[in-house]
């Protein structure tokens, strides 16, 4: 394994005709391997400059759930949405009916989850094509590539952009220097589970790189039109140009092939394909320990294919295929103004463009430009009092200007005991589909039905969040407790509304449009206990209690049961000294309405467990594991007739 480390990339690069780039593959420390006084006297590049210093959990402006690599591995989850089940306030689905498994915080309220921000290494991955859905983006990283996931529960558009309306899932991938060498993993099990991954890390002078290629496949939910397969290629390289500058290049490709549909006239059984690729370049410069400058450019393109014939009318196809692209340029300046004040400010220019004749009734690209300005300051008023204040202003060429301000105060009442209080206003601009969707079912020049004809009378939906929090750390138990009490007033939710109209001289009924509809208030409490109480153990317990209030009766009765009133999850893992690790998780909730179950409500009770043994293959560590997901009875998911049944699988992993 170890030899592959340098030999294989050499072959790879000579094959690609890039051998000239490989001046040397020797280590960074080449030429100077013996200690001398220079090790003591030379200058070092500044690493933990103002923007790189992490925040203490008791000083974060809001509730945070951290999922680290150990926990991710031991959870037995195969993808990110399945992991997010173990975060308080999250609802997840394993179904591919909304293009990919979904995860949402505080409800989906529609077909797609788009009210949380998902970042992968700082790049916003919501889908421009699929109405702002975060589902494909959540699938864009293999779990092995992830260093940690930080979930910020609560509105945080100031720090994370316009989509961070209800919360943020911040996925941080592993540094390439930590993944040198070859690694491999295979999962094989019930329900057609067949996942494989190969990773390769290598060095080129003062840079390190990683290429990960994987595929994840299974037969999907019982009762669904199974056979889902996700294929991914992700590349990351970290370059250190001079002592104080580093450049990172990331690129990736993903393809999600899913079997969809329920054999109904409007939802025929069919295969869909979602394809996306991206390039991201980051340039970071440490100006001084007190100042950093960061630039990021990201380009993403999507292509979607979902086409199926309507059996009753020859020549009529249901077609939702199309393409989209977005480009984003962000500049961010972080600085410490004084020992007590640090601030970050910057701007983002973003262009999104969607092209689909069947979905927008035009072959022209529909372009939306966004300009965002943000500034955020952290001010230590007293040693025990920290104020976070900031605002983000956004201008969208489609929906005008919006402002998202935020204020949070953290008070260290006693050592290890912190109270938080704060409020934020945030918004989500309508997606292109929500403003200009135009889906007509036609054959031979005749329009049979207008499925969607959005009239553009829709403004950003808004949320006003007020929250109180508590963070306590109990060192004697090596544990911490976070409590979040929240009041989230959502107004003008973007919802479908049907209307009748004359179009091109013909009258049509039940045309779908998007409008700002219901307003509602979510009130509740989330509690999170996390700790490592004794050696080798990891214990987490979450509970959330949420109630929905409607100032006016909701347009749809089902809206009131979008999320469970009460939900809990427990995670426990114990590592033994002989290399064995046992972990288990249990999730349960009160009944709530699944995404497409009408009035039918389903409670959740799911238990997973995993037993693993570390292996030593030559100099490389590995692991063999047995995971059983949903040990108990089948759980309905997405549709009433779709079931998540027990899935047992074996995995074999070799680390780099």
């Amino acid at each position: 394994m170890k030899k592959i480390n340098t030999a294989l990339p050499r072959q790879l690069f000579s094959l690609l005709g890039l051998a000239g780039l490989l001046h040397t593959t020797a280590g960074w420390a080449q030429g100077n391997v013996a200690v001398s006084e220079n090790d003591f006297l030379d200058e070092m590049p500044i690493v933990l400059s103002v923007s790189r210093l992490p925040q203490r959990l008791d000083e974060t402006p809001g509730a945070v759930t951290l999922l680290d690599r150990d926990m991710i591995r031991r959870s037995g989850a195969r993808d990110v949405p399945d992991l997010l089940r173990l975060v308080p306030g999250f609802q997840t689905s394993m179904s591919f009916e909304a293009d990919a498994p979904q995860a949402s915080y505080h409800g989906v309220f529609g077909h797609y989850s788009g009210r949380i921000q998902v970042l992968v290494d700082g790049r916003s991955v919501y889908s421009t094509y699929v109405a702002g859905s975060v589902a494909p983006g959540l699938m864009s990283v293999a779990l092995e590539d992830i260093e940690r996931i930080e979930v910020l529960r609560g509105s945080n558009s100031v720090a994370y952009g316009a989509r961070a309306m209800l919360g943020v899932v911040n996925i941080v991938t592993r540094h390439t220097a930590a993944t040198l060498g070859a690694s491999a993993r295979v999962n094989q099990g019930e329900n057609g589970i067949q996942d494989t991954r190969l990773g390769l890390g290598w060095r080129l002078q003062n840079s390190s790189m990683r290429l990960g290629v994987d595929q994840q496949g299974d037969d999907g939910l019982t009762g669904a039109n199974g056979h889902n397969r996700v294929r991914r290629v992700n590349f990351r390289s970290d370059w250190r140009t001079l002592g104080d500058t580093d450049v990172q290049l990331r690129a990736g490709w993903m393809d999600i092939d899913a079997g969809r549909g329920i054999a109904e006239l409007h939802e025929p059984l069919r295969d869909t394909s979602y394809d996306s690729s991206f390039v991201q370049v980051d340039w970071n410069k440490v100006l001084s320990p007190e100042q950093d400058l960061a630039l990021m450019f990201a380009h993403n393109q999507e292509s979607y294919r979902d086409i199926s014939p309507f059996p009753l009318i020859p020549g009529l196809n249901f077609d939702f295929s199309g393409t989209a692209r977005n480009d984003s340029l962000t500049a961010q300046h972080t600085l410490r103004l004084s020992p007590a004040v640090r601030m970050v400010w910057g701007a983002e220019l973003r262009r999104e463009s969607v092209t689909s004749l069947p979905v927008y009734n035009t072959s022209e690209a529909l372009v939306t430009d966004f300009t965002r300005l943000f500034a955020h300051a952290e001010w230590r008023l007293r040693p025990d009092l920290l104020l976070n204040a900031g605002a983000m202003a956004e201008h969208s060429s489609a929906s005008g200007a919006s402002l998202a301000p935020r204020l949070m105060l953290n008070w260290h009442v006693a050592p290890g005991q912190t109270l938080r209080a704060g409020m934020a206003r945030s918004f989500r601009p309508p997606s292109e589909f929500e403003t200009s969707g135009d889906v007509r079912y036609a054959a031979n020049g005749k329009v049979f039905e207008i499925f969607y004809l959005a009239r553009g009378n829709v403004a950003p939906e808004k949320v006003l969040t007020r929250e109180l929090g508590y963070y306590g750390s109990f060192s004697w138990l090596n544990s911490n407790l976070d409590v979040r009490l929240f009041d989230e007033v959502m107004s003008g939710l973007i919802q479908v509304k049907n209307y009748d109209a004359q179009v091109d001289g013909e009258s049509f009924t039940d045309i779908r449009d998007y409008v700002n509809g219901d307003s509602l208030t979510l009130r509740g409490l989330e509690l999170q206990w996390a700790g490592r109480p004794w050696p080798g153990a990891q214990l987490g317990f979450n509970h959330s209690y949420t109630k929905l209030f409607f100032p006016n009766p909701p347009t749809k009765e089902t809206l009131a049961s979008t999320m469970p009133e009460s939900a809990s999850s427990l995670f426990f893992s114990q590592q033994f000294s002989n290399g064995w690790t046992f972990s288990m998780s249990h999730q349960n909730s009160n009944p709530f309405r699944l995404q497409r179950t009408g009035n039918y409500k389903q409670y959740i009770s799911r238990t997973d467990w995993r037993l693993s043994k570390t292996l030593l293959v030559g100099r490389n560590a590995g692991e063999i594991a047995l995971t059983v997901q949903n040990q108990g009875p089948a759980q309905a998911d997405f549709y009433k007739s779709f079931a998540f049944e027990r899935r047992a699988y074996v995995s074999l992993r070799l680390d780099n």
Partner: protein, 316 residues
Amino acid sequence: MTRRWQILLLGLALSVLCWQARAQAPGVRVAVVSSQLSAPHMDAAQALIRQLESRGVPRSSIQIYNPADVASIPEATQTTIKVWVALGTQAAMVLGKSRLKAPALGALVPRAAFERVLRATGHQLSPQFNVVYLDQPLSRQMALIRLALPESNRVGVLLGPDAWHRNASLRDAASANGLALRATQVDDDDALFAALQSVLEDSDVLLAQADPLVFNSHSIQNILLTTIRANVPLIAFSPAYVRAGALLALYSTPTQAGAQAAHWVLEVLAGRQLPAQPLEPDDFEISVNDQVARVLALTLDAQALRLALKQQERQP
């Protein structure tokens, strides 16, 4: 005594002094060989010269040489030299390989580097060839951890293959201070991060030991980002690491090293011998990165720590 006799005696005394001065003036008595002309090396040389001058050694009897020039120092000068000072590893190596008529003292030389010089030159530590180490004694490093981080009990270290033999002495120094050592060997720089992850898993603090295989300007970014995420403070051996993001550093400045070398040079000039045992640095500094301390929820005062550590060392 008559006034004439007084004048005669004074004149005699003056002429004796002048004769002595004439005998010494043209000769170089202290030869300083500096590995480099970098700022730290020059700081050490200046401190050395200042200290010697303040104790009456004329500037004209102190000469600074490049290592490359040592071989071409004329025989006549060689005979007047009473003591050699090597500033830096390369200078120590050159002096070790030269046939010197006077004792040589190294300064700004780390322990591992001096051991390398001894192996390469066939010398043994002796009053003829000794050193003031640049790195801090292990007992001082461990005592600092005890003082600064009283709740930390498990000390992690990463050692390259050449430093692995220090494992035992590190363990002894740790246990003498009530600390447990978790040492991990790093075989090559590709294995660094696996080793780092494993050592951080059961360490409360990471103690850096200078080794360019482990700690260098390329690896430091990941080491610091990884340790801070793991909430494990890094104790380093130079203030540059504290500026980069280490919590603490314990080190001697080049000025301190130069001054300590001057003390032993004066001893030799006074006709005494250098000790047979290597010399640990007697003065030191501590730096703290306040921002990192805040992230780790620690309150540390560098000066208070330094004074406390000094006081502790003075106690029997």
